[in-house]
Amino acid sequence: MIGSMRISAGMKAKTHARIVEVARNLFQDKGFDVTTTRDIAAAAKIATGTLFNYFSSKEALGMAIVAESLRAGHDDYEARRRGLESLDEDLFLLIACCLRCIEPCRNYVAPVIEAAMSPFAQSRLCPEADEFRAQHMERVADCLSRHDFAMDSSFVAMHLYWTLYLGVLGFWSRDESPQQEDTLALLDQSMRLFVASLSDNHARLEVSRDA
């Protein structure tokens, strides 16, 4: 019994990996919008219904692929961080590492973000997106706390960060400038602006506390 459970878990992991692999190739080759769950199931040699045992929708599957790469960006960030960065540089580095790691997904990252991570997306439809957002914001909170800012000091600031983050991802996905240099400039300026807004809130809090 234990042996068969082990095989079953192993089989499940293999099927999961196979679905992700074929979906990645199909998204890359055919495009996200054109690819159907039926195409993915056929390529993975499973029934379409079986696919939904693993992913609730095509968007969730796309998000799982993108999130996996973005999480690799988190690890990359930890490896590259020197500990000498200013706050705006630290945040720049975090996002730049994410961009490096999702480079292979660039062709289909925009529709995935639009469907799963947009501020208008319904969270219940794509738990993978919610999970990634929580993980990413945890990194941001760590980063802020290292620079003496509390994560819960302003939900407005956090929402602003998330908006800028998605904006940069979206811009990058369609950036046709040489070597995507516009994205670098946008990311740099965005993080400077975000840090400025944080500081402003910080100052207001200090003033109201003093009062």
Partner: protein, 469 residues
């Protein structure tokens, strides 16, 4: 017409409106932030406009443009005011020009009698500035340009820039083969941003119908755009460096840095690092007169050689372009804003030198012929007299026996005055090379003045074949 600083500040149109601009709001925000525990120093420095110098600089431009339509009817004047205000706002939002505007303001505060034309000429001579890049941004940019992170491309890479460059910054690094290099890196996207802003600026100003002045403004703006295009093309700069470097031998004691092509692109330029100091720091070492004269001679020789042998013309002899090296050699860097003489320009340049040495009459005849002056026309006669004065200032030292003493402030001042006259008289359009030559010579002689150097220019020019028969 001359103005003092207070008049200039008063010329700034509708200041209340400007102060309500988003830039002002941002400036206030940044001012608040300066007390907060956030590293926004560079950001603050980049955006904080509002000093007297900057206002004076902006006001001068406004005055100059406004004075151009003083005779227009009321309706046209109102229309122009609207366009002008919009244009000034655009100008105010150009953070990469703020340093330039402030420098103009500073210069005007010191010399309030400068004329509008001189102001515009100063503007075109100033360099653009980019926001400072932190290492993480720089690393991404280098990776995209050179294919790998700086720490992988180079044996070592200093994360802190050792010098600012026009629209970028310079880092010291060591190649895996051991050579110490200077890596010049451009801020991403800045060149296209500026070009786009300038197009907007011209679109805003174009309905103003400034007639003759409009042509001048458009030409000046075109010159700035052209310079920007040159300065942001590091491949172009690399080609000038190589061309100039080939003109020098080891025994000249003048070094043009070697370019490392495999580590260079259009926006990353890797060159040999020259170990030394700039003029200000060199002067702090209290060098002897003999040393000053020697370095002065090297600077002048480098200028002759680059022009006469490499046939390249520097836009300006900025002190930052010369390195007083620890081993006694003179390094010449920054070939971002150079141009090659055309055959016609080179012929003109040679002819000026040759005829000057032949005597006043020959020089005068050449100038009359080149510029198409009519000696019987009173205005042309005045211009001929002016050109003769220019010739004396440009070439006079070729007739001077023995060391020429550059420490005379009257000599430098006269050159600055004459240069200011060039755009005023309007004939520099026919021969743009004159503007370049003037700008370079003023810069070069300013350095020699600060060095208090004495240089045997006659002998040097003969050695460098200034006059090629």
């Amino acid at each position: 017409m001359t103005l003092n600083v207070n008049q200039l500040v008063a010329e700034l149109p509708d200041e209340a409106q400007l102060d309500d601009s988003p830039q002002r709001a941002l400036q206030d925000l940044i001012a608040k932030l300066s007390h907060k525990p956030v590293p926004v120093g560079a950001f603050s420095r980049l955006w904080a406009l509002g000093t007297l110098q900057a206002k004076v600089g902006a006001a001068y431009l406004v005055h100059w443009i406004r004075s151009s339509y003083a005779d227009a009817d009321e309706k046209q004047r109102q229309l122009n005011e609207t366009h002008l205000k919009a244009a000034v706002k655009v100008l105010g939002s150009m953070s990469y020009l703020r340093g330039a505007i402030m420098k103009i303001g500073q210069a005007l505060a010191a010399y309030p009698n400068l004329l509008p034309d001189q102001f515009v000429d100063m503007l075109s001579a100033l360099h653009f500035e980019a926001p400072p890049m932190h290492y993480s941004l720089l690393r991404e940019f280098v990776r995209k340009e050179l294919g790998s992170d700086p720490e992988e491309v180079f044996e070592s890479f200093d994360t802190k820039a050792f010098a600012a460059a026009s629209l970028g910054q310079v880092h010291r690094a060591r190649l895996k083969s051991g050579e110490v290099v200077a890596v010049k890196i451009q801020y991403p996207n800045i060149a296209r941003t500026i070009q786009s802003d300038f197009r907007n600026m011209m679109a805003l100003l174009s309905p103003m119908r400034l007639q003759r002045e409009w042509d001048s403004l458009r030409d000046q703006w075109h010159d700035i755009c052209q310079m920007l295009e040159w300065e942001t093309d590091y491949e172009r700069e690399a080609s000038f460096l190589k061309r100039a470097r080939a003109a020098f031998r080891e025994e000249d004691d003048i070094v043009i840095p070697k370019v490392y092509d495999e580590y260079s692109t259009k926006r990353v330029l890797t060159m040999e690092y020259l170990d030394g100091v700039h003029l200000e720091d060199y002067l702090k070492t209290n060098p002897s007169q003999e040393e000053r004269d020697r370095f002065g001679t090297l600077i002048m020789r480098s200028s002759f050689r680059i022009a006469h042998t490499a046939k390249i013309w520097y836009s300006d002899g900025h002190p930052g372009n010369y390195i007083f090296m620890k081993d006694g050699r003179m390094g010449v860097i920054d070939f971002g804003c150079c141009r090659v003489f055309s055959d016609d320009e080179w012929a003109y340049y040679k002819e000026v030198g040759v005829t000057f040495l032949q005597g006043k009459e020959a020089y005068r005849e050449t100038m009359i012929h080149t510029h198409g002056f009519d000696p019987d026309n009173p205005r042309d006669a005045e211009n001929i007299k002016f050109i003769e004065e220019m010739g004396d200032w440009y070439c006079g030292y070729l007739l001077h026996e023995g060391p020429f003493d550059f420490s005379d402030p009257a000599f430098l001042r006269r050159g600055i005055e004459l240069m200011g006259e060039i755009p005023k008289r309007g004939f520099y359009r026919a021969l743009p090379v004159d503007t370049w030559i003037s700008r370079h010579l003023i810069g070069l002689r300013s350095i020699a003045f600060r060095l208090q150097a004495r240089v045997d220019m006659k002998r040097l020019s003969e050695e460098e074949q200034l006059v090629v028969d």
